[in-house]
């Protein structure tokens, strides 16, 4: 695999000081898009599979996501890192593993436009963080909400690249609000990065400016459903 690291003139990706040192090693391996090195970090860590996922993979992806927002790593690195971590997690915790956590049903879709990279990255990071996610593909607003109802989805993630598609989230919100069961709506993609207030304008419940932030947003939405709000 290509050997790359952080951008020149930028601080290398650094985990929270309280994180285990292995997190830093994993971040560097992932930023270098080096799957064997990433696997080696997990192999030399003595911990239960779930603990490895929660204390190594999730924090490492969080660091990379935040580093992307700060301009310290590139999207291609986050994309490859997310795919590596998804495979690592599948080995640690196969999809049928009882150790996987029980979450509200969540789904992800691309609204209107044909650019699916963001969806793939967020899907991989969420799965690597232990979430099971229904991939609804690329849909228009009406079809999307019909699928959400049919699949009994409680948390819906919508990814867009184009500004015009971002504005269509309003229609998704309107249609979701016509249903009896509350559905939390989390949005992400370039228009929401370029205009930090846009997610509120279009009626979303939350947003994430990168894949790790999307995981945090989904966790907040799950907590709000547990609390019975809205």
């Amino acid at each position: 695999m290509t050997n790359v690291a952080s951008l020149p003139g930028k601080s290398p990706a650094r985990p929270n000081e309280a994180a285990p040192p292995a997190v830093g090693d994993l971040v560097l391996a992932l930023a270098a898009m080096d799957a064997p090195a990433a696997r080696a970090v997990l192999d030399r860590t003595t911990a239960a599979p779930l603990q490895k996922a929660e204390t190594l993979i999730v924090p490492a992806l969080e660091v990379l996501g935040n580093d992307w927002s700060a301009g310290r790593v590139a999207l291609s690195q986050v994309y490859v890192a997310a795919r590596i971590c998804e495979r690592l997690l599948d080995d640690l915790l196969p999809p049928e593993s009882p150790a996987r956590r029980n979450h509200p049903r969540a789904a992800i879709a691309v609204l209107e436009d044909h650019h699916v990279l963001g969806k793939r990255i967020v899907s991989s990071v969420l799965r690597a963080s232990g979430w099971e996610l229904c991939d609804l593909g690329r849909l228009g607003a009406e079809e999307l909400v019909a699928r959400v109802r049919a699949e009994e989805i409680r948390i819906l993630l919508v990814s867009v690249l184009l500004f015009r598609s971002a504005l269509k989230v309003r229609e998704v919100r309107r249609l979701l609000d016509q249903g009896d069961i509350p559905v939390r709506l989390v949005v992400g993609g370039a228009p929401f990065t370029l205009d930090p207030d846009l997610w509120r304008t279009v009626g979303a419940d939350d947003t994430g400016c990168n894949a790790a932030a999307a995981v945090a947003a989904v966790e907040r939405m799950a907590a709000s459903l547990d609390g019975g709000a809205r």
Binding site: M1, W68, H114, R120, F163
Partner: protein, 350 residues
């Protein structure tokens, strides 16, 4: 003393000297349909519509160039891809037309002159040139061979190809370089003054500098050398500060800077080497007040105007249709008010 023409203004700033005022490249595209009262699909169906739209918008806002760009998807429409038209935004690409990596091996370059969607652009540029002569530059657009594959095969599949299939990647670049050089030169031949070389994949938002130096920069260097006119390299809102020196070495004359970048730092990095173009935040402009428009123009002036080598523009290269006429007028008025040289750093409102 008579006022400089737009062309004088732009040529002076490109030489890193101060003209009478900062040039403004507003770069509206789909707004032309509103000015002609046409649906977007109909607007782009005839070269005469686009030429007239560009001329009317320049007359209304007073910006310093005409824009030959129709919509990005035209470049893959030329290869047979589907284009999706909407009433409230630019035409976009449908499903990528390269459905597998293997399809790259059979690609052949479209004939630029005989492809209707491209021939319309060339005719629009010719019509604009007849009207504007040498008073104002006409900016053509060519997608970088390195970035075009996002529309040809999809982002994820392209990144996989770049990282895992070097031979197919090289083949794709070779075909795309042929197309890009032919397309850019046809626009120059039709009357374009310069070519905006859109290269968002090369930005450090998308790939790390090592990959730019290995792939994006050599492709740009080879391609720009074959384009018979000046180029502006634009990253369509992507970051570029960490690679600016490498971008300069491609032979480009202008660098388009996005709104997420530290604009003063970008100007400092480019000073005396390339002109900076930017960096109004297009999407945020959709809900600006006129006061916000004026304040942001003043901040851009403070960051980048002193010394020349600066063209005010949006940071993305395509204005959303939802940016209001009043906002565009306010930007243009602020440039006339606050962009007149000498411009000092104190121009930004405290």
């Amino acid at each position: 003393m008579s006022e400089s023409t737009s062309m004088d203004r732009v040529l002076t700033t490109l030489q890193h000297r101060e003209p009478d005022r900062v040039p403004l490249f507003l770069l509206p595209t789909i707004h032309g349909a509103l000015h002609l009262g046409l649906p977007i699909r109909e607007y782009f169906s005839r070269a005469e519509h686009v030429a007239e739209g560009q001329l009317r918008m320049r007359a209304r806002y007073g910006h310093d160039c005409l824009y030959g760009f129709f919509y990005a998807a035209a470049e893959v429409e030329a290869w047979g891809a589907e284009v999706v038209f909407a009433e409230d935004g630019p035409p976009t690409t449908g499903e990528p037309f390269l459905r597998s990596r293997a399809a790259v091996a059979t690609l052949s370059v479209p004939d630029v002159e005989r492809t209707p969607c491209l021939a319309r652009v060339l005719r629009a540029i010719s019509l604009m040139k007849e009207k504007v002569g040498t008073d104002a530059p006409i900016i053509g657009v060519a997608m970088s061979p390195f970035s075009l594959p996002v529309m040809q095969m999809g982002f994820a599949q392209y990144l996989d190809l770049m990282l895992e299939e070097p031979e197919l990647f090289d083949r794709l670049m070779k075909v795309n370089e042929e197309f890009c050089a032919a397309w850019a030169n046809a626009q120059l031949q039709a009357g374009a003054t310069a070519i905006c070389y859109f290269d968002p994949v090369s930005s450090t938002t998308i790939i790390p500098p090592e990959l730019y130096l290995r792939h994006g920069q050599p492709v740009a260097t080879r391609t720009i050398a074959r384009i018979h006119g000046p180029t502006a390299t634009h990253f369509a809102s992507g970051r570029c500060l960490p690679i600016v020196d490498a971008v300069v070495r491609t032979g480009t004359a202008v660098v388009g800077v996005g709104s997420l970048e530290d604009f003063a730092a970008a100007k400092a990095a480019c000073r005396g080497k390339v002109t900076v173009l930017g960096n109004l935040p297009g999407i945020q402009m959709t809900h600006w007040t006129t006061a916000q428009a004026e304040d942001t123009v003043r901040q851009c002036m403070a960051a980048a105007a002193p010394g020349g080598g600066f063209i005010l523009s949006d940071g993305h290269g395509e204005l959303p249709l939802q940016v209001a006429d009043e906002t565009l007028l306010a930007i243009a008025a602020a440039v006339r008010e606050w962009g007149r040289y000498p411009v000092h750093a104190g121009v930004a409102r405290a």
